[in-house]
Symmetry: D2
Subunit: 364 residues, 4 copies
């Protein structure tokens, strides 16, 4: 209830801070018999980890997961799976500034207001470090979705500052294209410019916002619930659980504001196999909150990193005016490392709804 | 689990279709002792109901609520409150077209894909009619928020097609200004143009999209949970549970994509009372998913009504190409009636987090 | 969260008091396509209702259910089903005594302590009247269990005061045998004595306790979860949610206290069809909290009715010593009407676990 | 949903098997500011651990907990607390028999029926080893209950085979009396006989059942919810989640079956402080499912250990008749080690309801 559990049937519960012993996730509801090992988790953890490229933070965190339970003889048993990722970078250091001063854009003040007390080391529970175990759980969800339901999930960067990339066909993009550059924009020309912009921002001791698109292909029609647990609502929540996300849209998104019904409606037709599809996909793969069988396409707006190495105005815990310049190494742009996090949250949400649909309709 | 329950401590469960006997909500978790009667529910129901003005659908649904339980001697008892709103417009008629043809932009096809079977009368469970009881529950949440926590919620239309209104100070807008015109845009000049545009669209047998802004004032710092039940995540889900919403943002929203950290960060300071506040509110009242004490400001993109009186291409249940022109009276623009729905969902979500914060921190 | 919702996938939420407008249940999670009408609900409601025989309370409540949603063309749609049962006996009368005096054995005092305020008319929310809609929901669960899973549920009275009946084979008892007498003990000789005892207690203005046994046959091996949601735990909770239940046991129950392992262990063998079974059923159909395929056998201890027409010592709300003699008509023994309530709670719990098992194991 | 989470506001989620790397619990909802260290956890873990006395199993498991998160500077932060207890006894050995043969009274068969696959090493997830982390979480709940609410919890053995102890005043028993003997029966004379009986059973390669009583003192009137989450229902479930429990009762329990209303009703009066109390406590501290302010008194029936070193009839996974004699060291009587487990489950349940009452009634 205190918000550390997510999902209904495929359900994750997490704990951990950035500078404590480690982060742990318990995944409940994974069907028995799925082949699983740490090798399934490591690739996405590597895509999320600091130090992976020159345009992200240069901290060194190898993020090696240990599966504590729920897997036997290389397969899931159907019981709860615990995964532990120990923190490496726990060395004692001076936290004086963030202990007593509120960093702009961070949760320091709101945690104090909520709890009256906080683990101030590196942001504690509010640190993006807690997403490590989400990414690990997401890798489990991805494997379940792929093997059991034929669903694939892929994200990529579509915007950094004013540099925008709009793919003609989101479903044609491959993981290789995404991973070809450290910025995770599948268009090489735009990627190059984005990288240059990010490097420039770093040199200016500043940061930059952007957007990402996350796509799920292969989702059959029928996932999601009619009223409150609409698939769009749960996927919307999924994205907003991630740090720095200030906007989420799917399909035509905010573009619908200026559209007429005759322009926006996607007409039904049949494909070569006689399957009912829509001619266009402005509805982003969900109608009435239920998947339509068309690709699910979402976009997230991610704010520029709040931590800046240059001094910013703020106050102390007692309200005295002061300035703070964040020490340590930070990402000048959050987007490249955001991709595996967003993919993970989409995967966990879809895995949950896959099992929910299976449950209520008795596998029809 | 099948998605008809929303919230944790302030929790609503709903049932009902557009053309069945009625809609019902059970509200669980309302503290005892709150004064409550149907008079508290009727105003927002009237703001939501069809036929209220010339620019909305002309169906006549009085939407009279009956409180079935949980209130005694004019006060809540702390036990579950059931509210029933009977449907008036249940007359038998010809549903032939929507029984066998899939309306573009509607949930007809996805319901069939999910359940293999659906109540096709007027959209059944997928009809926006199910929001009646959400609005009733929202009125209860609003009263609790106002009386116990000093929180106010107000929404208004900011965009219809290309007509955009951006308030200088969202917290200065009054209910009277919003209700002064049937389009619920508080700026009289823009409202007039919006009304003209909507009337034009109706005459062209078309519809138009738009956007709304929903604002909560008086929320103290500290509501919301750190990780999955971030306030922004739960409010984001709240908005996406509403029909026709394709995008949600808060604070600077998608505007952050082009911002630098030095531009976007809101600096902390103290107000005249020595309370810690931010100089600006690009963070929309939430930091790290927890309320900051600043106004909560959200925006939703609402698509143009999918139902159109002119023929649209589609297929039958068996995949045969056909056309469908929706009979009956529909809103050429959903925004005016969207406002009370969005306010209700924000109120229910905030009431839930108010009780959650109270629970875990033992009322500190 | 305030305790008016029960179950995970087959989930019911209830509202209503004894002397308000009525009681309502929303059932969420019923698979689509199940044939359902009020005719499915009425028989169990009639078994529960007052006035059905000379040995129960003589109040007249016909308990006619209205299905408000979730059923279309005689079949469930997969969306939430609301059932309303209006109260008939709402006539105004003098509640003075129970308003100001605490009835021994009732929830008057504890409700006041909890909420500071209560609906004192006939017990309000603490009245057994709230079980009407549980019985209606139980009838839906029973139908689902019977038609989809081949599971049958039957309860009967095994004890009234010192009169005890122990069936040789719980699975051989039929509904006809149970319903043959108003006391619902399937053994005619014992039933006759029980009826006489109950009539004697009524004439003495007293009441008597007893026990019931509830049996589920046809439950396949594999329902229930390993740790917290053990089937025995959820069934145990199910029974303890019912008014007046002070003890629950399954299989050998409290008899295990004096047994040795060599006496208590049920040995595995195979039946005529080669299916693995146990030679005996002291484990009551559940091992490790998971159904074994053997009949599930539970017993509940039900206290004597607390309401007595003779004066009992108590205090007023302000602590003044006084006496109270309960007015109105009450059951001298709760057991006969307890049977349909207990069956309903077992059915709802098993339907929930049926769907849960289906969900996680993907229908294996 | 797969049953590894327990509680609503004070909520635990567990993972782990008997012979995997370890067991872990995530505790969510602990209020911030509670002093906590491993020293608070160790005493109850020591009371639960094998090898603590001559009458329990002689396996050596030190059960050292590591707090991974949620505690900073010696106090809880209000975020999720993860506790890891690594397994020591993971040496490879021959599991051949329990891999292929079904142990009578164990969950081997039902796990196979449920999941089609199981971790057969030492019972895997069905092993009582999973209760280690419940006991750790229970220690946290106990500290919260004691410090914030003044509630104490104590359990003791009341029966081993035919040897029965009935305390005159359950609230007068002290932890020292309970811990004075390894059998945890506070009456020295009965304890001595129980120990002798257990030793005799061990020498006969057999086991014996028994019963325990668990008492909570200091619980204020008002905890628990009216309908489904009655305190008796949640405490009943709590006890039934524990391995080997076949019966649960509170207050007069099954004794009510033979009682009349005039005998069973507890009359209200006031105590020396003017507080409303009952003269007797046959209702076991709960009325209408809500705490009455009187001590909460529960009893559990615990079956004799199913694992026996002598051969028992059973079948193989393929249904072939065979015998199995359990290797390894087992408790000839489960009761002594059951006490800390039952206390833990009562503590977790009461802590949950303490926060729930605080939430809904706004701390009244």
């Amino acid at each position: 209830m205190a918000g550390n559990t997510y999902g209904q049937l495929f359900r994750i519960t997490t704990a951990g801070e950035s500078h404590g012993p480690g982060n742990v996730v318990i995944i409940d509801g994974v069907p028995p018999g799925l082949k699983l090992s740490v090798d399934d988790l490591q690739p996405d953890l590597d895509r999320r980890r600091p130090g992976q490229s020159k345009i992200v933070t240069q901290r060194d965190e190898p993020d090696t997961p240990e599966i504590l339970s729920g897997v036997f003889d290389g397969r899931t048993t159907g019981t709860s799976i615990a995964i532990l990722i120990r923190n490496q970078d726990q060395r004692s250091r001076d936290y004086g500034d963030i202990k007593d001063k509120y960093r702009p854009g961070h949760a320091d003040y709101t945690f104090d207001a909520k709890f009256g007390f906080r683990d101030y080391r590196g942001g504690g529970r509010s640190s993006a470090r807690e997403t490590t175990v989400r990414v690990a759980a997401g890798a489990v969800a991805k494997k379940l979705l792929r093997q059991t339901f034929g669903v694939s999930i892929l994200g990529y960067v579509t915007q950094v500052g004013d540099l925008v990339y709009r793919p003609e066909d989101p479903t044609a993009i491959t993981l290789e294209q995404v991973e070809a550059t450290p910025v995770r924009c599948p268009d090489p020309a735009t990627a190059e410019k984005m990288i240059a912009l990010i490097e420039q921002l770093r040199s200016e001791m500043d940061s930059i916002g952007g957007a990402a698109e996350i796509v799920a292909t292969g989702v059959p029609a029928g996932w999601g619930e009619p009223v409150f647990d609409k698939l769009k609502a749960d996927l919307g929540k999924a994205m907003f659980t991630l740090p720095a996300v200030l906007g989420v849209e799917y399909g035509a998104g905010f573009g619908v504001c200026t559209m007429r019904g005759t322009q926006n409606n996607d007409h039904f037709t049949t494909d070569a196999d006689g399957r009912i599809v829509t001619k266009t996909n402005r509805h982003g793969g969900m109608l009435g909150g239920i998947s339509s069988g068309m690709p699910i396409v979402m976009r997230c707006a991610v704010k520029p990193t709040s931590s800046l190495p240059q001094p910013q105005d703020t106050v102390t815990r007692t309200g005295e005016p002061t300035t703070i310049a964040t020490k340590g190494r930070h990402d000048p742009c959050l987007l490249p490392r955001f991709i595996p996090m967003a993919e993970a949250m989409m995967a966990i949400t879809l895995a949950d709804h896959a099992l929910r649909q299976h449950a209520q309709t008795m596998g029809r």
